[in-house]
Subunit: 357 residues, 2 copies
């Protein structure tokens, strides 16, 4: 990666709230942003120097983005492989590296990668059909989680198999897509580590957050997590090990299960800024978004220390209708994503409440 | 003022760094922004939903802004009176109120206004010609400061009169513009109070900053200021008194002199977000920019408490060439304004360094 000067242009694939907050961080450092997104009214498009409204595999659009940008990044892991290949062939600098995208797009490859570098995960088996699902259940026991290998997020493409009666419907829910069965982990805590790795190979991590999910969607992130100090140290070390193994540049969000026996397993990672790291905007001098921009710009990483403890709460669907009460709540730090339509399950904003360290 | 809902559009007259940081704060709350500025490459234009490139008194441009925006604000006090009248006639909601603009555009009116509401200022006399200047000097003594009544900022339009030999050149520097002579205040400290007043008449203030000027330009703001507690309380009280007297809505920046005898005088006020309040972005949960947007949107004011002490340093002209060292300095929080050309005396960015409370 070359070092970008202020005034350089950063391309972002995806104009949702993550793209929006990346663009804000980039602007603060003096960079310009161009957003590529199929939705003309996407949140990030309204605050960028320019927006290209096109599908992610539209070659004309990708060529325009490539021509205008000094580096291109993305806000979601499901960037089509074709788009990545096209941008690379066009000579674009792309960060984080495509290898991280490829691995994280496929739950089976992701788990294999983690096992290969010696990091514990839930037990898992690939599942291509109902017969294989039955074999996998014999091996892993019940309950277990069946997930499509690709394109799952926020609890979509998942089914819990509690007993033999769930098997047929569980497999149907996969709609014939290749899947993976994961042994059920009866964890004490879910935590995540936001790690950032710079072009120079240095890594830093933010303090782990404890995450509360509901219906497969993150509801709250709490810092500090309440996990014991050795667990925190181990999670941060594992996070940097993953970033190193991927030759990563940028922010990587890694979700962990902390077992009731204090064991630590990686659930999954996302090669991008992460919802469980939004609190870093309010509670740290330098946020996950700024550190992502610093990394992909070839700049030194910023300090990941926090000045406050905090709790971040997602505003999902109808939660956002409550905005007036939140504006009146002293100490509630509100972020709204500028989405035009409120839909059930849609992330509309978040609120962070600081507490003294 | 009506209460704006997220998704509403805010117009900003002026697209410099203050407009840029206002637009960022507005975006974070889910608002869209439209910038009016004569410079197509102005800092705020690159991060707003739209930018209208025109002079401030261009009626076609003002009509377009008025038609698109739910409220219109400004980043500088020298908005032409004609533009204000045009927007009001077009039915636009304008905040802060035009009365504050009119008063602050004229140093003589500003001082008269402060005296009228019982607030101490430096002694002053209006000066229309060299003969009046000589009379004013007889009354106020030397040294004294000669300033044009209008259009002065960052030390421009000012001359120090140290002795009788400076009189003729001092008056020439005014270029025949009506002026004001101010008695020289041998102060111990310069401090400023960023105050915000909501549409409901409630006011809040941020902790005063101590300001260090060089060549008439703000170089550093330090929080806390080092002033004694009674001075701090008095300054905050005076700030809110001024905001009330102006029926103000939005952020108002007020500069004070603290005398060596602990007397307190108002130097001047600016009816807008203020350079000496930039530190509130990094050291407070809710910045001056967000509180300005909250006020003009008819929202409740946010908490003005700070989580950290800090020192803000302006990057002026060639200072910005030092950006690489600043990116590598741990704990230096950097903001660059996205200006294309570095010029001597031009504010290019700022850096804030936090310290524990």
């Amino acid at each position: 990666m070359k070092t970008l000067s202020p005034g350089a242009t950063i391309g972002i694939l995806g104009g949702g709230q993550l793209g929006r907050m990346l663009a804000m961080a980039a602007s603060r450092l003096g960079f310009s942003c161009i957003i590529l997104d199929p939705d003309r009214n996407c949140p990030a498009g309204k605050i960028a120097r320019a927006m290209i409204c096109a599908d992610y595999d539209d070659e004309t659009a990708l060529a325009a983005l490539s021509a205008e940008c000094d580096v291109i990044t993305y806000e979601f892991e499901n960037v089509p492989a074709h788009a990545v290949a096209f941008l690379q062939a066009a000579g674009s600098a792309l960060a984080p590296p495509p290898k991280a995208l490829e691995i994280s797009q496929d739950r089976l490859r992701e788990k294999n990668f983690l096992q290969d570098i010696g990091i514990a995960t839930a037990p898992y088996q690939p599942v291509e059909n109902e017969a294989r699902l039955r074999t996998a259940i014999e091996n892993l026991g019940l309950p277990a989680l069946l997930k499509t290998r690709r394109l799952g997020y926020d609890g979509k493409g998942q089914a819990i198999i509690k007993n033999q009666n769930d098997i047929t419907n569980g497999w149907k829910a996969m709609q014939s897509a290749p899947a993976i069965l994961e042994g059920f982990i009866d964890f004490a805590l879910e935590i995540s580590v936001i790690t950032v790795r710079g072009a120079d190979g240095n890594s830093k991590t933010y303090h782990p957050a404890r995450n509360i999910h509901k219906g497969g969607i993150l509801r709250r992130s709490i810092v500090p997590s309440g996990a014991d100090a050795p667990i925190i140290t181990e999670a941060r070390t594992i996070a940097m090990k993953i970033a190193n193994a991927l030759d990563y540049i940028g922010v990587l969000g890694i979700e962990f299960f902390v077992g009731k026996d204090d064991s630590l397993m990686v659930n999954e990672f996302a090669p991008r800024v992460h919802n469980s790291g939004h609190w870093t905007v309010e509670a740290c001098g330098i946020s996950q978004f700024e550190n992502h921009i610093r990394a992909i710009a070839g700049w030194p990483l910023g300090d990941t220390a926090r000045h406050s403890n905090c709790e971040m709460e997602n505003l999902i669907g109808e939660d956002a209708a409550n905005w007036q009460a939140l504006t009146a709540e002293q100490g509630a730090l509100l972020t709204l994503y500028g989405k035009r339509h409120q839909r059930s399950g849609r992330k509309m904003g978040h609120v962070t409440r600081l507490k003294p360290l």
